[in-house]
């Protein structure tokens, strides 16, 4: 029971982080129809920026969090300008290769800047690292902090979509870009905003994750694949679906890691992606019309 509750708890925590990465992917995919292959590298890069600010410059955690999110947004917006806006939207090969190129540039940049210090950088915990017992369940305070942070980000995000003018414009563009353009929405700006928002969410996820794991330049790809598995499980255009998908991937992976073998965890995204894309390409939360994938 203790093992199970521990695995469940850590599964929900990592699942919440996958959900954030998936959310970023879905925001971009909904608005623009492409998958941003550099999403994982935004995550990694923002995490390193937060590490530099927090550990090297001694800035406090909330401030470095905010700055990392801003850096994420800027990286995302730049990616839109460099690797999305100038490219013919029907040319999928070019669209994919351009964001793949961006992802490798960021990875190399991180290796050049931070790689020399140590292969793995550790981020100091923001709460006490000792586990506490809530009834029969063992909880690590850092996990609670991550869950709370994730929940807040999701709420802010939902409010942004429902309540603000920019959020509504994004929804309109996602629904029908041509119609949105006809009523005077500058869809190009919306695309920039979508890329930026997606990257900002990834940045926030990175700063939440950093105290739980170590940072290294290759971390981005793992999170990207798992985030994509989560997004695909939720149907790729559904925001609640992305959250649910993230939680499922996190919990299943944690249980498989605990009861079968820890190395199985790395295989989970492959299995999920293959099964969902081959057998149920519309994802879990969309039951209507078949979509061409």
């Amino acid at each position: 029971m203790l093992l199970f509750s521990y695995l469940l708890m850590s599964g929900v925590t990592t699942g919440a982080l996958y959900a954030l990465v998936a959310l970023g992917l879905v925001v971009v995919n909904k608005a623009t129809g492409v998958i941003n292959f550099a999403q994982g590298e935004f995550f990694m890069f923002a995490g390193f920026v937060a590490w530099t600010l927090h550990v090297q410059f001694g800035m406090n955690y909330p401030l470095s969090f905010l700055l990392a999110v801003v850096v994420g947004f800027v990286l995302g917006a730049l990616t839109d300008r460099i690797a999305f806006r100038p490219i013919d939207k029907n040319d999928i090969v070019s669209l994919v290769l351009a964001t793949v190129g961006i992802s490798f540039m960021l990875k190399g940049l991180a290796r050049v800047i931070w790689g020399g210090k140590a292969d793995y950088l550790s981020f100091p915990p923001i709460t006490s690292p000792d586990p506490i017992m809530v009834g029969p369940i063992m909880v690590i305070p850092q996990q609670l902090a991550v869950l709370a942070g994730t929940l807040i980000i999701m709420l802010v995000f939902a409010a942004f979509f429902r309540l603000t003018r920019a959020g509504k414009m994004m929804q309109a563009t996602a629904d029908n870009a041509r119609a949105a353009r006809l009523v005077g929405i500058r869809t190009d700006h919306i695309y920039t905003l979508a890329f930026g928002t997606g990257a900002a969410i990834a940045g926030a996820a990175a700063v939440l994750t950093a105290p739980l794991t170590l940072l290294y330049p290759d971390i981005g790809f793992t999170f990207f694949l798992k985030g994509f598995a989560a997004a695909v499980l939720g149907g790729l255009t559904s925001l609640p679906g992305a959250v649910l998908g993230g939680l499922i991937v996190g919990v299943v992976e944690s249980l498989a890691g605990g009861y079968i073998h820890s190395s199985v965890m790395e295989l989970s995204p492959f299995i999920v992606i293959m099964i969902v894309l081959v057998f149920k390409p519309t994802g879990l939360l969309s039951f209507h019309k078949a979509r061409r994938v």
Binding site: V96, M105, T192, S263, E266
Partner: protein
């Protein structure tokens, strides 16, 4: 005079005559270029001609290398028996990978093959009993016994012969019915099907051919390094191979040769600086996609006679639909 045929023949003559006068390192780099020419041609058939954006080529390369190496180590097979098996197994796995490709296209195919490549890495890393895990293993020394030739030179000439044969094979294939079918599938699946092209067969064929080329290259690579380890077949390997076709020119077999040579020379110049390599190759991908969509070969096609490949030219960039874009009356989203 400087047409494709003459240039390629001159390069071949150089490649055939130079090695006895070159030092060991130069032969090694030359051999590496030949191996990447094989990889690049195979990938170009799949991505450039058949339009299937797959990311599993590095995994096929690894399967070829591992099969060739492991059959020698575990069963004591000679290289000459293990090497063809590596190529065939990679071709078989490649063909099997075309099954998901039938149901997916574009982004989804890219991601599922990426996940497949990651799963292959996982097998290389964790199936310790067979693959020796993360540390990799040494392959037996290759000898060309009855023929009196040293191992580096022998392997070089073996690679050269295979590269020339497979180059000629690819040139003829893409100019045949099969090549035209690939291009038709790339430019429009529905249209291709309505012309009587069996999508299943041609997609499987494209994946199988690229797997075969990658598997053969993998076998040669394992013999060249005398060593096989998982990190040789990872994502970075994938980006190198993708760069060779993007830089050389997608949808051009000759472009693959130019791209592979250019990329390997660049890689050797930047050896020891992994971070810089990643930045440079990432920037090359973005730069060529943005500014030179057809790769190096498109420049040659524009300015030098005798390089055109009319049927298989890269799809011209579609003009963006002339949508009216009036200045919006309302305030834009961001100031």
């Amino acid at each position: 005079m400087f047409g494709r045929r003459n240039v390629m023949l001159a390069l071949l003559a150089l490649a055939a005559i130079a090695p006895p006068f070159a030092n060991g390192y130069q032969i090694f780099v030359g051999n590496l270029v030949l191996i990447y020419i094989l990889l690049s041609i195979g990938l170009n058939v799949l991505v450039g001609y058949a339009g299937q954006l797959a990311f599993a080529n590095a995994a096929m390369f690894g399967i070829g290398a591992y099969t060739t190496g492991l059959l020698q180590v575990h069963f004591g097979w000679p290289f000459w028996a293990a090497f063809p098996c590596g190529g065939l197994l990679a071709a078989a796995v490649g063909t099997a990978l075309s099954l998901p490709a039938l149901r997916m296209s574009g982004l989804y195919l890219a991601l599922s093959t990426l996940a497949f490549a990651q799963a292959t890495q996982w097998v290389f890393l964790h199936w310790d009993a067979v693959t020796f895990g993360a540390g990799g293993f040494k392959t037996p020394h290759l000898s060309f016994d009855p023929i009196p030739i040293s191992k580096p030179l022998g392997l070089y000439y073996l690679s050269l012969i295979l590269a020339v044969l497979l180059y000629i094979f690819a040139r003829h294939m893409v100019a045949s019915r099969v090549g035209r079918a690939f291009v038709a599938v790339r430019d429009g699946e529905v249209a291709a099907e309505s012309l009587g092209i069996d999508l299943l067969r041609y997609k499987a064929l494209a994946f199988g051919i690229s797997g075969l080329y990658a598997g053969i290259a993998g076998g040669l690579y394992s013999a060249l390094l005398n060593f096989v380890a998982p990190e040789g077949y990872d994502l970075f390997q994938m980006i190198i191979q993708k760069s060779t076709i993007v830089v050389g020119g997608m949808g051009s077999v000759a472009g693959s040769v130019l791209g592979a040579a250019a990329i390997i020379l660049l890689l050797e110049l930047l050896r020891e600086f992994k971070g810089v390599q990643e930045i440079v190759f990432g920037a090359l991908l973005v730069g060529f996609v943005l500014f030179m969509r057809g790769g190096l070969v498109s420049v040659l096609q524009r300015y030098v006679r005798g390089w055109d490949e009319p049927l298989h030219a890269v799809k011209p960039r579609a003009e963006p639909a002339p949508l009216p874009n009036p200045e919006p009356q309302t305030s834009p989203v961001e100031k």
